[in-house]
């Protein structure tokens, strides 16, 4: 007897179909941008008149893209480094110690994830103005100001991922190390750190990518003529869409895709998001 084509099998197909549709819907805009980057003509009309690679060269003639990329990279790396330095010890305490105020501290550290980007941007903008007035130090529009703000978006991701990686870590392993004669520092370095390394790698990657791609908050904080890459892309798109901006986007997609693949070797992305 052959498998009949019944309602339950159709149901399964329908489910898979809708799932595939959703995935396609998520990926479609990226696919279109990638497609456009290879058009020969400048106007995004269909069908394309032919294909060319020249727009990837054209990207480098745009000061705002090149400068934006460098600024984003610089800010992302710095913010990730500072953010991790603050977040990793905090995660250790949150995951492993029982202290008063643990829950509110955790909520506070995750708060930058839920405060809307536009609100975060405006409030940090006025804060930097006020501190400029108070200290006379030109913070607003400087790279320092931008990094300081981006640290705020790195911290919640790092805290989330490092505490998650510690949740699966059996504390008796540390006790075993101490029982075998390791001091607190040795125990941390030889036992705890290797165990949470995947969480730190994932936290660094997510923090960097979130900083690199941040738009709403940075919009308020960049100085005149010095923008990050996402803002440069946005401002270009407000004016027009053409293969040059698509090529710039493709380079960003490629960079982030590569970062994900590298991270995935250390920690399965499906287990940390």
């Amino acid at each position: 007897m052959r498998r009949p084509l019944d309602a339950s099998r159709l149901g399964r197909w329908a489910l898979d179909g809708v799932a595939a549709l959703s995935l396609g819907f998520i990926l479609l805009p990226l696919a279109l941008v990638i497609w456009l980057a290879f058009f020969r003509q400048e106007i995004p009309s269909f069908p394309p008149e032919g294909y060319s690679l020249r727009w990837f060269g054209a990207v480098f003639n745009h000061r705002s893209f090149v400068g934006g990329f460098l600024l984003s990279l610089q800010v992302g790396v710095a913010a990730t480094a500072v953010g991790l330095a603050l977040a990793v010890p905090a995660s250790l305490a949150i995951a492993r110690r029982r202290f008063r105020g643990r829950a509110p501290v955790n909520t506070l550290l995750l708060m930058p994830l839920v405060v809307p980007g536009v609100v975060l941007g405006t409030s940090i903008y006025v804060f930097q103005i006020e501190s400029e007035i108070a200290t006379g130090w030109p913070l607003l529009g400087s790279t320092y100001g931008l990094v300081a703000a981006h640290v705020l978006i790195v911290i919640p991701w790092a805290v989330r991922l490092v505490t998650a990686s510690l949740a699966g870590f059996d504390p008796t392993v540390e006790e075993a190390a101490k029982n075998l004669g390791a001091g607190p520092w040795t125990t941390f370095r030889r036992v705890t750190l290797p165990a949470i390394r995947p969480g730190i790698v994932a936290g660094a990657m997510f923090g960097f990518v979130m900083s690199f791609g941040n738009l709403e908050m940075s919009l308020f904080l960049v100085g005149a003529g010095r923008t990050t890459l996402p803002i440069a892309i946005l401002q270009y798109l407000e004016w027009k869409i053409d293969p040059t901006v698509a090529a710039a986007s493709v380079m960003q997609i490629a960079l982030i895709g590569a970062a994900m693949l590298v991270t995935d070797r250390y920690v399965k992305i499906s287990q940390v998001v």
Partner: protein
Amino acid sequence: MAQLELRDLSKRYGEHYAVRSVSLDVADGEFLVLLGPSGCGKTTTLRMIAGFVEPSGGSARIGGVDVTYLPPWRRNTGMVFQSYALFPHMTVAENVAFGLEMRKLDKSETAARSAEALRLVRLEGYSERLPRQLSGGQQQRVALARALAIRPDVLLLDEPLSNLDAKLREEVRIEIRELQRQLGLTTVMVTHDQEEALTVADRLVVMADGEIRQIGSQRDLYERPADRFVAGFVGRSTFLDGHVAAPDAFETAGGLRLASLTQGISGPASLALRPERLTLGPTNALDNRLPGRVEFVSYLGAVLELHVRLSPADRVVVQMPNRGDAAVPKVGDAVEVGWPREAGLVFAGQGNPAIERENQNVEA
């Protein structure tokens, strides 16, 4: 309640057969146990009966109706899962009533039948609790009540007791058996606990590598194992490697010539000996009488177990009742071991299949 027939049921994952050509008949009201080492396809077989796994070939009939490709919700099988799979957001009563609701029974009948099911498993007072407020044993009984409430044609149990502690396990398995008999339920249970299998089953099925090796009563499997695997898996056997030297003689690798029933086998073979069928001490009346030296003694309480070396290549395990009258042999003592020729079973092939399997599993 109905009878269950499986014909050549198979399940293939890629090139690998999880279950291959399983044919079985379970009579109305019979308690059948599937027994076998880990990964041999017991769960897969059960899940094909329940409809969770679509067979790659063969057919399944329940009460004469072909259900091979019927989805699980259109078969009337009651399943008890190893993890119990209680609905965590529903009370005990709601859990038990679920299947009746799906059958659109009216309210009063649903209530009556779920109360009846809970009474059967002696959980009347617990109907408003949530599953997480119950002990493991109680959760297990709710899972059973939930499966019984729908009055299933076939009751399917996948290692239902493996999450309980040893003491409780013994109690619950007797309860399940009594309920099953009382309700006349056709039942298939999966386990890899031999004692559990032997206690509750009407008949047993021994599986290995996705295939059925033997079907029979406890006694059939123990006294007349179909092959070397069953002899090693059901109960215990020591295997002596060697070959058939004459129609009535088996010669071990260590050169011992033993009187045996060789059943027409020739060439390389092994001789399986049950430890409790061997006798220690003056063994005048027996067909085989061999001197040996004690290498290892386990004092197990009711019995003593001795490992006795018969030759550089041959060692047997002897079990003797602990009567308290004789002196316990010590390591190094010279002893005499004997057995009647019927106590030894000769199988083609060599080695201890059960142990080989275990080693494979460890490596894998």
